[in-house]
């Protein structure tokens, strides 16, 4: 109880980034949703369902970026394989959505998804059981990626795999999963993945209201994840994480079992990623092994870096901005958008080492910095 109170206190006490973030997020969400549902389609202010879906996707990406920032920005664990957890979450949700199709598939088979019918599967593989229940699927959304993160993290962090070794191993992980999910024998639809979803929890996926609903839920959960991550990073736990980032050995000599912390954080981050994936699948309408591709995971890292690692809002902003840029560029300049995107990445790294958030901070600082700094700095020992 007292901890809750404490958390609330944290939340209120000068937490203006949190407040600002939450306010902006919710205003935007509410405005967008209302204007989609209430305004007539020809109104200038009408937000199209296309835009809502797009925004929903961006928010999922933002959540994913947040997941990466939590481990990379605060604990120095650079995961080049976070797409794996995202995709697993997406697949768990996708399996549920597939089961919801029921006998409306092209073959009209009430039990087997279409791809199983035409590849002659006799019956549903065991790991598909229970996936027709939303609660069970949601459990799996957390459980499967969570367990994977736990096992992988436990192995890696206990054996003190660090730095680029860890990064490359996470890449190997997602790459291996990609190859595995490509295999049709796995029973996840091979290269095509899962698609042609019809409904979620009884709501037609193609209905505007369902899309807006999913969008709002995504925004809510993003807000929640943001606040909880922010609280974690402000607690002593957050400082321990930073200390592990700076000098893991030293933290160990202070009595912290750094591997526990890292495993815990890794699982937490994987869960966020999985949640993002679960929200992503119904909004985008397809989940396939491409999500496991190492390049996707690198892109996540790029979002975080562009936004500014080590600041949660930076990650969110980076994800949304880069995704938006990609959306715009691919239609504005289909033949040369890669030049622009590539140049953007180079520009940001060279000129904005701390990302966009760093730019913001610098501005704030230069506004308030004065000459009296020297007094604080040259104190010397004792006096």
């Amino acid at each position: 109880m007292s901890q809750l109170g404490h958390a609330w206190g944290e939340l209120r006490r000068g937490s203006n980034t949190i407040t600002l973030f939450v306010v902006v997020l919710f205003t935007a969400t509410v405005l967008a949703s209302l204007s989609n549902l209430l305004l007539p389609e020809n109104s200038a202010l009408h937000v199209s369902t296309y835009t809502i879906t797009l925004l929903g996707k961006y928010l999922c990406y933002a959540m994913l970026a947040l997941a990466v920032d939590v481990i990379w920005g605060y604990c120095g664990i650079l995961s080049l394989g976070h797409g794996a957890f995202f995709a697993l979450g997406g697949y768990a949700m996708g399996m549920y959505l597939m089961r919801q199709i029921g006998d409306r598939g092209v073959y009209g088979n009430p039990d087997l998804p279409d791809f199983m019918v035409f590849l002659n599967w006799e019956s549903l593989p065991w790991y598909w059981f229970g996936m027709d229940q939303l609660w069970f699927a949601m459990l799996m959304v957390g459980l499967v990626p969570g367990l994977l993160a736990l096992v992988f993290g436990w192995l890696a962090f206990r054996s003190r795999v660090t730095g680029v070794y860890l990064s490359i191993m996470t890449q190997a992980l997602t790459y291996a999963l990609m190859l595995a999910f490509f295999r049709n024998e796995m029973g996840f639809g091979g290269n095509n993945g899962l698609t042609d979803f019809k409904e979620i929890a009884g709501f037609e996926l193609s209905a505007d209201s369902t899309r807006v609903g999913l969008f709002v839920i995504t925004a809510l959960l993003l807000g929640l994840v943001f606040v909880s991550s922010q609280l974690i990073m402000r607690s002593r736990l957050g400082r321990v994480l930073v200390s592990i980032r700076d000098s893991e050995a030293r933290a160990r000599f202070l009595g912290y079992r750094t591997d526990h912390f890292k495993v815990w954080l890794f699982v937490y981050s994987a869960l966020i990623a999985a949640l993002a994936g679960a929200l992503y699948a119904p909004q985008v309408g397809i989940i396939n092994p491409g999500e496991f591709s190492p390049v996707n995971s690198i892109e996540i890292v790029v979002w975080v870096a562009v936004g500014g690692r080590g600041t949660l809002y930076g990650a969110v902003v980076g994800a949304i901005l880069v995704s938006y840029a990609k959306t715009r560029f691919t239609s504005l300049a289909p033949e040369s958008w890669l030049f622009m995107l590539g140049a953007l990445f180079v520009f940001v790294t060279v000129f904005l080492p701390k990302g966009l958030a760093g730019l913001l901070k610098k501005k704030q600082q230069s506004d308030s910095s004065g000459e009296d700094d020297r007094l604080k700095l040259t104190g010397g020992a004792g006096s």
């Binding site: 002593r236 736990l237 930073v242 700076d246 202070l254 009595g255 912390f261 604080k376 020992a381």
Partner: protein, 259 residues
Amino acid sequence: MSPGRIKAPDVSHKVILYIEALSVSFDGFKALNDLSLYINDGELRCLIGANGAGKTTLMDVITGKTRCDSGQVYFGQTVDLLKHDEAAIARLGIGRKFQKPTVFEALSVSENLELSLKTGKGVWFTLMAKLDSEQRDRIDAVLTTIGLSALRHKPAGVLSHGQKQWLEIGMLLVSDPRLMLIDEPVAGMTAQETEKTAELLTSLAGERTVVVVEHDMEFVRSIARTVTVLHQGSVLAEGTMDQVQNNPAVVEVYLGEES
């Protein structure tokens, strides 16, 4: 709620640290060679010896950083340190200051101290942890002692070399360990600071056990009761400062003529 509490070591035989027949080698090079050493509870022990004699390595073994080839290390009568990892050893109450100051550069000075506090170190504990007023006072006191009060909110990364040395000492103090292993605390300090450190360490002994490695003979002289001299991985001499100082072997390999 104090999950951090750990049973005190069994010091019924007065000895808090047993080191017996310890050997460590790196690629065939013997850094420690059949070394035996006993530290009494509450003692202030100075460890001196030539560069490369194995002093830091000894601390590495005690704190779990380096695995030994053979030998035994006991904390009190019962705790076999070789069976514990770094974190567990730290939680047993063995604190250490490193030869090369290592602090958490991105954290502020006071956060460095906060993390060193003697409290729970588990994930859940730290998630919920909050500084109580007693701890706050303790941090303030230590900040004053190490002279970094004015820099408490600065990231430790911007400290000068000597300031980092002090911060490390501060981190050790605030963690209130049973056994302190201090590697070269006064390197890079002015004479006056050295004196101050000497006072500090002397005042700590008694309640805690302190093992200091230092090359500054003046400093050693000013704090030492028992001095152990290591040479090429084993004990060369042990005794009071005077005894050691007049030991020709020690003079030969370590002190040189002028001291």
